[in-house]
């Protein structure tokens, strides 16, 4: 198996605050990894650090063998677009939508590289097959959409790219249980090809049995490290943390 993502000794945080403490993590191609942790324990920070969006960070992050981390102490997001162009797709918490723009604008904006922009119609079609409810809403501004539809737009925008690593931050956040279940089921069916997917989630039962392996994150430290962790042992961890 090829490593898509290799994180070594990653610490990151905001201002004087250290959120992540020397994290090691490897994700292999074809894998779907669930990252389980409670609010405020560093799930989002880990995903944002990989995308270069934290205030500062140190340690190594390699995407397909290319260094995207290193020590950095200022200017959050300065390199994010470059990392994204190297094959990262982060679907952030809160969706980061462009309010006022239409659904089709959002999907097109996901096809940012010159080559994907040319085949954006075909890519849009593929995303619409994954999220059929968006088909009727293509011309609607995203402000008019429901929470579930907005999440679909955010995920769909992320899926428009030719990414080798998909980072998905709490796809179930703020949605009705039945909707979040179906969204996660859809995400777990997507053909990853050579790529990999990392899903951060608060709710263990949402991911149990659907992903290749589960990792726990607690107080900025990964539980289980880079090794696979059985759902059973995580269960104990999650309920203890609760």
């Amino acid at each position: 198996m090829k490593e898509v993502l290799q994180v070594q000794g990653l610490s990151a945080g905001y201002g004087p605050l250290t959120v992540l403490h020397r994290i090691n993590l490897t994700v292999y191609s074809g894998e779907r990894v669930g990252l389980i942790g409670l609010n405020g324990h560093g799930k989002s920070t880990l995903l944002r650090a990989i995308a270069g969006l934290t205030d500062w960070q140190s340690g190594s992050i390699q995407l397909k063998g290319r260094e995207i981390g290193g020590t950095r102490s200022q200017s959050a997001g300065r390199n994010t677009h470059r990392i994204v162009r190297m094959g990262l797709s982060l679907m952030p918490q809160g969706d980061a939508l462009f309010y006022g723009l239409t659904v089709v604008d959002h999907l097109n904006s996901g096809a940012f590289t010159r080559s994907t922009w040319r085949e954006r119609a075909a890519r849009r079609e593929r995303v619409l097959e994954i999220f059929p409810p968006l088909r009727k809403l293509l011309a609607a501004p995203v402000g008019k959409l429901s929470g579930g539809e907005r999440r679909m737009v955010s995920l769909g925008r992320g899926l428009m790219a030719d990414a080798s690593l998909y980072l998905i931050d709490e796809p179930s956040l703020g949605l009705a249980p039945s909707i979040s279940k179906s969204l996660i089921a859809v995400l777990c069916q997507i053909d990853l090809k050579e790529g990999a997917m990392l899903i951060a989630e608060q709710n263990l039962s949402m991911l149990e049995g659907k992903v290749s392996r589960l990792l726990g994150i607690h107080a900025g430290v990964l539980k289980g490290g880079a090794d696979a962790l059985s759902a059973a042992s995580l269960n104990g961890f999650a309920s203890a943390a609760r």
Partner: protein
């Protein structure tokens, strides 16, 4: 006193097109770069000098002068981007610092123009010829007609470009959510420079068009900056349709005020209009026309 409706229409259309070109630039810069560009008037004045220099040393042929003004405007816009946006945008208190930076650039630029070109006003050669037309009871010069037609044509082109091109989508995305834009691979710095070039080009076009009736001088950018700024505010900063509607209304008010109670009251009525708009709709005219907003 008798008000000539044709004269009012021509004057209002002329003013609206100039204000529209400037206000849209200010509005786009604010919403995509978060920069209140106090040097927008400087772009206007320097582009006027660029066009004048082209007419003087290159060729007085209309299109050459027009293109020279646009290119000069785009270059000055990018220079402001290099000086006031790139070094500051990721620093704390960016909005205030960049406001001060553009103000400083504007003052320095004015002194530069005074030193380099002298206080004397310079005329531009007529770009659209010297013919004049009759519109009802009013006489329209070729310069005025050309200015109105050209600016609305360019505005339509810009709107279509923003809607359908990849660069346009990048700019619109950045206007709405810079972090979301970075997450889809849009480079903030390069997109910002594109924004400065396009809006600078618009200001340069406005400079050449207005100089068909006025002169180019070191301080000729001051009034356009002020008017462009209030039109952008009344339209709702960040809204292109809002800015266009506000430009038409403000132009109409200026023309009506000038013919009915006198030109010295123009600023008073314009500011009254903007105060009333902002009292009713704090987000400007965009607050009325946009149905969804988050």
């Amino acid at each position: 006193m008798q008000i000539d409706p044709y004269y009012v229409i021509v004057t209002a259309a002329m003013l609206a097109s100039i204000y529209g070109l400037l206000a849209i630039g200010i509005s786009i810069i604010w919403s995509s770069l978060g920069l209140i560009n106090m040097a927008h008037g400087l772009i206007f004045a320097l582009a006027g000098y660029g066009a004048w220099a082209a007419a003087q040393y290159l060729s007085a042929y209309g299109p050459v002068v027009l293109v020279a003004g646009i290119i000069a405007g785009a270059l000055v816009g990018m220079l402001i981007g290099v000086l006031a946006f790139l070094p500051l945008y990721d620093k704390p208190n960016y909005v205030l610092r960049s406001l001060i930076a553009t103000l400083a650039i504007s003052l320095l630029g004015q002194q530069f123009m005074l030193t380099a070109f002298g206080p004397r006003s310079r005329p531009l050669p007529p770009v659209f010829g010297r013919a004049s037309f009759h519109f009802g009871t009013a006489v329209v010069s070729a310069g005025q007609l050309g200015a109105i037609v050209t600016s609305w044509l360019v505005l339509a082109l810009i709107a279509a470009w923003a809607r359908h091109s990849r660069r346009g989508l990048e700019i619109r995305a950045m206007m709405r959510n810079p972090e979301g834009a970075a997450l889809v691979g849009i480079g903030l710095r390069s997109t910002a420079m594109a924004v400065m070039a396009v809006t600078g080009g618009l200001a340069g076009l406005a400079a050449v068009l207005l100089s068909q009736t006025y002169f180019v001088s070191p301080f000729s950018g001051l009034t356009p900056l002020l008017k462009g700024m209030i039109v952008a505010l009344a339209g709702g900063l960040g809204s292109i349709p809002g800015a266009i509607i506000a430009a038409v209304l403000v132009g109409l008010i200026e023309a009506l005020t000038a013919v009915s109670i006198g030109g010295q009251f123009v600023l008073i009525t314009q500011f009254l209009f903007i105060i009333i708009v902002l009292l009713i709709r704090p987000r400007g005219i965009a607050g009325i026309i946009e149905t969804v907003r988050e």
